[in-house]
Symmetry: C2
Subunit: 317 residues, 2 copies
């Protein structure tokens, strides 16, 4: 185990030099209509256009890039049913490595199909954390594969920070950078990079009120490691790790929460006005802007839209 | 009336010099997943990201740019419930002119609100062509406003052709350009520009099988001016005009049709794989590629995605 080492902005710049040719340089879009509605100048970093449809491909690609040839030959393993599983599967395949994915047996068929489509070997387990960890450990014991945690991993965090790097390269005059927080990988990478290169930019996080462990940990200064989430933002159900909590406590300026109704309303606004598809976990950012007009008014705000993977067969509108 | 004058590619280049600063230069996107599925290299010109969410803003802006100060002071009028109405309303407002829009009284509330939001004056009428034309004529008689037809208009056609101009500037090595056909404004402008600058590029059109008047006119050589359309592609319900039929007969290489089930399937593919929102009228292009693999295999195909205005409350999936 690597302990609680935390990165600096140079680590993110190094990560970018490793993954630059492998990840999409996603566009930064703006909408005059949304700017008019919310009274600020929002620049959306569109990680919904990233490979596998989410920023997670950046961290997974960087984690794979740090493995030796011998480690690559033994493969990588994670337990996840979401975007990290798909990202790790594609990133492993791109390096000629193999991904072992442990998924709860009640995962939606569409997610099983996505991961299988990227060539991963899927193991199913009961939908408990204990069963997932046990299944992953069995694979590690049998194969020697390297475990790649979705966010409690130095190299993953450095990869996620490269979205903010690209955004900052195009817009150095941002007043605020705002991104969602679930396990804290994206937020940790974002804050590490932005505060390293320009501490005058505020780094804010957006979290669903129904999964507000990061908000409560941040405000109380005490790390909350378990909670029972209840939110439509299915990419933000996890809690921080001690590592991401440490980074966020040091580098993030504030965390704001938003209720699910506002998240869905803002997701629909993005779809209708920008003609792009984002998942609820992305729209929590715009919901926070809507709920805190005084904080964002007349500011230039960089928003990281984290992903665009939704089940079109069961939309909330 | 201006008679059956038809443009050349220089007219489209002139139109572009007039409207370049007023319209969005929309991105050209590609999807490795879709290319892999369909076995060709597709470049999507994303007019769903155009102002008002559709290419129609190009034609309306050019039509407004050709009016004298005195004509602008009297305003413009059209009868439409769709993208042309919104486009003309915004284009008129941008020139300090007024748009009078005649809409059938059974138009969806969302369309009424969109047009009203752009500052137009809306008149409602019974949902028949005779009632629409009568209402428009009454406005012309009362105000002296200039009638701007959605597609049977030289300047509108020239404006629509500028989407193909931008596409060609970025991809001069296309084998095929494919766009939807309804009234034929976009297709006429596209074919006029592409055949003018590079006749070796094939220009194909995609039409819903349930509104196949252009297909039948093109194949028979006889202009069909009426039909009873039945398709989900609500932007393609109209028939050609004599002018657009003349242009298309001279310059288009072929027209293909697609059934609604394939249109919906391909619309969903675009949403899921590209994370962008397109309306059914745009997806008819990809449906034609799916239904004619031999025609498109291994070709570099420029596809014009015409718009992204859908009612998220009533999706076909």
């Amino acid at each position: 185990m690597e302990g609680l080492t935390i990165p600096g902005s140079n680590d993110i710049i190094d990560a970018y030099s490793r993954i630059e040719g492998s990840v999409n340089r996603t566009p930064v879009l703006a909408s005059t209509q949304l700017n008019s509605i919310f009274g600020c100048d929002i620049r959306f970093k569109c990680e919904n256009f990233q490979k596998v449809g989410a920023f997670k491909f950046r961290g997974a690609t960087n984690a794979l890039a740090m493995l030796s040839a011998e480690e690559l030959s033994r493969g990588v393993v994670t337990h996840s049913s979401g975007n990290h599983a798909a990202a790790l599967s594609l990133a492993a395949g791109n390096r000629g490595s193999k991904a072992y994915i442990v998924m709860p047996d009640n995962s939606p068929a569409v997610k099983k199909a996505a991961v299988a489509g990227y060539g991963a070997e899927i193991s199913f387990c009961k939908p408990t954390l204990a069963a997932r960890e046990e299944a992953a450990q069995r694979i590690i014991d049998n194969t020697g594969a390297t475990f790649i945690h979705p966010y409690d991993n130095f190299n993953v965090i450095c990869g996620q920070g490269t979205a903010a790097l690209e955004l900052y390269e195009e817009h150095k005059d941002l007043d605020i950078v705002l991104c969602p927080v679930g396990g804290g990988g994206l937020l940790s990478g974002t804050a590490t990079y932005i505060k390293g290169v320009n501490p005058s930019i505020s780094v804010f996080a957006a979290e669903p009120a129904g999964a507000d462990d990061a908000f409560r940990s941040f405000k109380s200064g005490e790390f909350i490691s378990t909670h029972i989430p209840n939110t439509i933002a299915d990419g933000l159900l996890t809690t921080l790790s001690e590592r991401t909590f440490k980074i966020i406590s040091e580098k993030v300026d504030d965390i704001f929460t938003a209720d699910d109704a506002t998240i869905v309303e803002c997701m629909r606004l993005i779809w209708e006005r920008m003609k792009i598809i984002v998942e609820p976990s992305s729209a929590v950012t715009l919901a926070v802007i809507k709920l805190n007009p005084g904080i964002f008014r007349a500011k230039k705000v960089g928003v990281i839209l984290s992903g665009g993977n939704v089940d079109l067969g069961s939309l909330p509108f």
